[in-house]
């Protein structure tokens, strides 16, 4: 009996087409179903189940990024202005515009491979990719997060001809940990369970693979109660000759790694839908890092012997996506009965779109197959030759000699006429208020215990950040290993001092006020973190990851569009190209009463930079009593979206706005100052403002500080603004007596002010208006900051 089923669509009406898409979990729109119907009417036959599945996977939001590729009619209403309408060719083109305009020579491969690739040194390149695994992690936090990091590691293995992974990053957004179980609807896990599961999943996969996890962030907000966000990143290093891949007709299609089962079926099309209560079991994958580690070791050996000409990972869409993309320019014949299975009785379409983890597809010249086999066998990696590439420009898929699917690749991957989307954004005029009569000490201690600000050592210490012995600046540092680091610094080549700096920037609360300035702030923060640790701002590349809610809603799409415009504008102004990115849309939850709850639009900016000499990298902990404390950058009345207002439950204030024209100059000078050994410690001012930054430097160094707020800014008279404003582009810097003159000379004409000094007594003393307004014991500060986040 045939195992391939024909689906009757050629004579189906619209209602039937919609039903076929819905019942098959294909997530195809009626316009797309009509296109498919026309194609098969033209060739005079009905599609098979496999063909429909392959089309649905290829055209899914996850794989095709329809929203980012569509034209958008965008109307923007700024405060005190008339509405302006823009015709935007696509969001993707906006992002791409910044990279193309900057046209950096050191960008080796951008937006076309599995990861962005930049030059590292004369012989090597770095590739970096950040992915999201939100829906799977919401359903099964341990497995979902583990396979999230497993998937992005394979992206790095599949970039160019494969890079060696040397660093993992992770950023998570959860609902409040203290929410009552009774407030959660059916089908939603408690944030604490999700938190534990996600952290454990990333920890176990990364640690077992022998890759350090050493940079990230964790955020908590009620907006993530129904849909958590799990960003996983991996950075790899590869020889320059391995940047390009080329598939040639006649090369064998070799599948290596794990066997194929039903796990993960419909993952790609599932990500095009919202989360609802009833979810099929098959979308959940469980990872097996041991298999992936063996595959990694075998692949690096095979790459260095140049045994294959192209490689890609089996991610969303499985073989359908991997073989489809590799054969896009030529064609392929696949024999599905050769695919190693976990258990029998899988239907051909299930084998084709299964998202079983830890699998990769290689294009292997036939003469190299035997040598490749030996390497794979020596590392105990399973493999199978499942077909070969052709020059027919079509993909033919057989199962037990029966044709299970045949599609023209030009048609499958053609640029389609996507509908023009409508987007709308209206700016709200900010109401600036300065809270008065507050208990400064109480608010300060509350801020330190705020889970967003508090130490993440509970999580960081579960990750292995030392494995591979490249890590120079670690996530926690200082005398007791309790101080936070702004970024991680790696020295990836053992015989050399040249290094890599990796950081991130994220703040959805600014985006709730204005997504444009959120973009500016995230880029500024990621760059600040890079520069704080010694990275070069002019040798920094960015990655964008947008997680958004229901983009069918013009208002949500308007916020996304404004955010993307911000990314373009600020990337240009900061001279930093985007090299890779990803969007995860449809992060919304449909309640039983049909109301839709979207997440706060969230942009993660990841940054990677190069440092010439890791011995010149910088840490944030105070080094010596008596040294002076400087603030670089301007402090303004920018409390909108701040953690200070969050503690006070205030929804008001101006959102911080990045000032690249000043910030970039400050960053360049600071990079010079660090390179010239003029700086002893450096930390950026971010969430919580100046007082939190100073506290973290104290905890790291075990010293106290005296700060005079009048020196922070001549424009500000209210102490709470000086203490808690989250103005961008600011750094706290420790300078010793001997370097002061050179340091001040370097920053002449830029915002730079000495605001106090380091004291031996472990206390924080704040002065304003000639009197002491705060005096807090350092041990109390440490206890509040270190002990707030618990399992």
């Amino acid at each position: 009996m045939s195992r391939v089923q024909n689906i009757k669509i050629c004579s189906a009406d619209d209602k039937t087409l919609v039903r076929i898409s819905r019942e098959g979990l294909l997530s195809l729109s009626i316009e797309e179903m009509r296109r498919i119907k026309k194609y098969f009417v033209d060739i005079g036959r009905e599609p098979t189940d496999l063909e429909l599945e392959m089309i649905a996977q290829t055209w899914s939001e996850h794989c095709f990024h329809k929203t980012f590729k569509s034209k958008i009619k965008y109307t923007e209403v700024l405060a005190d202005s008339n509405p302006t309408t823009y015709e935007i060719s696509s969001l993707f083109s906006l992002i791409r515009e910044a990279t193309d305009t900057l046209n950096k020579k050191w960008c080796m491969s951008v937006f076309k491979d599995n990861a962005g690739i930049i030059e590292f040194d004369r012989n090597n390149c770095i590739c970096f990719k950040v992915e999201t695994h939100n829906h799977p992690s919401a359903l099964e936090p341990y497995g979902g997060a583990g396979t999230g990091i497993g998937g992005v590691i394979r992206d790095i293995l599949g970039a160019g001809l494969g890079a060696k992974p040397i660093l993992n990053t992770d950023v998570f957004c959860f609902g409040p940990l203290d929410i009552s179980h009774d407030e959660l609807p059916d089908g939603v896990f408690h944030p604490r369970r999700l938190f534990k599961g996600v952290v454990s999943g990333v920890r176990d996969y990364g640690n077992r693979m022998g890759i350090p996890t050493a940079n990230g962030a964790i955020l908590f907000d009620a907006g993530y109660l129904y849909n958590i966000l799990v960003y996983c990143g991996t950075l790899g290093i590869m020889p320059k000759w391995a940047v390009r891949k080329k598939v040639k007709p006649g090369h064998l299609i070799v599948l290596i790694g794990n066997r194929t089962g039903r796990d993960g079926i419909h993952g790609a099309t599932f990500s095009s839908a919202s989360l609802e209560k009833d979810i099929p079991t098959s979308v959940v994958q469980i990872g097996n890092p041991i298999i992936e580690k063996k595959m990694l070791d075998a692949l690096i050996t095979a790459r260095d012997r140049k045994l294959y000409s192209a490689i890609t990972d089996c991610g969303a869409g499985g073989l359908s996506s991997a073989v489809g993309e590799l054969s896009q320019e030529c064609g392929a014949v696949v024999n599905l009965e050769n695919v190693p299975l976990k258990y029998p009785d899988l239907k051909p379409w299930e084998i084709w779109v299964s998202e079983s983890q830890e699998r990769m597809v290689l294009a292997v010249p036939p003469e190299n197959f035997n040598e490749l086999k030996k390497i794979l066998e020596s590392e105990d990696v399973e493999y199978a030759c499942i077909g070969n590439f052709t020059s027919t420009k079509k993909i033919e898929i057989y199962h037990e000699k029966e044709l299970a699917g045949e599609l023209k690749l030009d048609w499958l991957f053609q640029k389609t006429q996507l509908p023009v989307l409508t987007a709308y954004f209206e700016e709200k005029k900010p109401v600036d208020i300065v809270p008065e009569n507050i208990d400064l000490e109480e608010v300060f201690l509350q801020l330190l215990s705020d889970p967003v600000i508090a130490s993440k050592q509970l999580v960081v210490r579960q990750y292995d950040h030392e494995v591979q012995a490249h890590t120079i600046i670690k996530p926690m540092l200082g005398v007791d290993g309790l101080g936070p680091s702004d970024a991680v610094v790696l020295a990836p080549v053992y015989s050399r001092y040249q290094g890599i700096v990796v950081s991130c920037g994220i703040n959805p609360w600014y985006g709730m006020i204005d997504p444009y300035h959120m973009a500016g702030c995230c880029i500024d923060e990621a760059l600040r973190n890079i520069v704080s640790c010694g990275g070069d701002p002019d040798r920094t590349a960015l990655l964008d990851n947008f997680c958004w809610g229901n983009c069918n809603d013009p208002v949500e799409l308007g916020k996304l569009t404004r955010c993307v415009r911000g990314c373009r504008d600020f990337a240009l102004k900061y001279n930093t190209p985007f090299i890779s990115g990803k969007d995860s849309l449809n992060n919304f939850f449909t309640k039983q009463d049909s109301t839709i709850v979207s997440i706060p639009g969230t942009l993660l900016i990841s940054a990677v930079s190069v440092i010439k000499d890791v011995r010149k990298s910088m840490s944030s902990d105070f080094k010596s009593a008596g040294n002076l404390i400087f603030i670089l950058g301007e402090t303004k009345k920018e409390l909108g979206g701040s953690r200070f207002f969050h503690i006070l439950n205030l929804e008001a204030g101006s959102v911080p706005q990045a000032k690249p024209e000043i910030s970039l100059q400050v960053m360049r000078k600071l990079h010079t100052a660090i390179s010239q050994n003029l700086v002893r410690a450096c930390h950026d001012c971010s969430e919580g403002g100046l007082i939190v930054a100073i506290s973290e430097m104290m905890i790291g160094g075990g010293y106290g500080a005296e700060i005079n707020l009048e020196k922070v800014s001549s424009e500000i008279d209210a102490p709470v603004v000086a203490l808690f404003s989250e103005s961008q582009g600011r750094f706290i810097v420790e300078v010793d007596e001997a370097s002061i003159d050179r340091f001040e000379k370097l920053f002449k004409g830029l915002p730079c002010s000495c605001i106090g000094k380091i004291i031996p007594d472990f206390r924080l003393k704040i002065f304003s208006g000639g009197s002491q307004i705060l005096d807090v014991d350092g041990e109390q500060i440490k206890q509040r900051w270190c002990g707030a986040l618990q399992w």
Binding site: E140, H181, D263, V284, G287, I291, L341, Y343, E382, W791
Partner: protein
């Protein structure tokens, strides 16, 4: 009974058929009682966060279901030489159907059929590395034993669904009530 068929010549793999499920042993491995059970304490803390009080301790065990061409001596060898750390753990082996009378309330959690079970895959390889060529299968689960408190099926259902099992990928069984 035919348990496997040879792999095809296109690569190095074999396609497995299900093994005989009639013979089934459970290997239960837990920490020695004098040692601190960090995992059990974490589960107990989560239970208390649910507002369920009265439980004094939770013991957590790894449970392995071994089935197919096996007898008790072979299962003992697998347990002792592959799965047990004799310094910190104790092991008990029993036939699957002999275990219905539990001293204390328990919940057992297993992966649903078809869900990837990486520990079982590694254990299968370990069994081969021990030189055992019998046609057998293994699957892995967790067993939670509750000491103290007035527990009923409803409370254990709540604990199971909110803390111990994700019904999307797990099945769970309540015992000893």
């Amino acid at each position: 009974m035919l348990l496997r068929k040879p792999g095809r010549n296109t690569g190095r793999f074999t396609t497995y058929l299900p093994v005989d499920m009639n013979i089934e042993y459970i290997i239960r491995i837990g920490l020695k009682r004098n040692l601190f059970d960090a995992f059990g304490s974490e589960v107990l803390q989560s239970i208390r966060e649910l507002g369920i009080t009265g439980i004094d301790r939770v013991y957590v065990y790894d449970v392995y279901k071994v089935y197919g061409d096996v007898d008790i001596s072979l299962v003992r060898k697998i347990g002792k030489e592959l799965l047990l750390d004799p310094v910190s753990q104790v092991m008990k082996i029993y036939r699957f159907y002999d275990d219905e009378k539990c001293e204390n309330p328990c919940v057992e959690v297993w992966y649903l059929p078809g869900v990837t079970d990486p520990v079982a895959l590694t254990a299968t390889k370990g069994i081969k590395d021990l030189g055992i060529r019998n046609q057998l299968g293994i699957s892995c689960g967790k067993r939670y034993e509750f000491i103290g408190g007035k527990l009923n099926r409803k409370i254990l259902e709540t604990i199971s669904t909110r803390i111990l099992a994700n019904t999307l990928i797990h099945s769970y069984t309540i015992k000893g009530i």
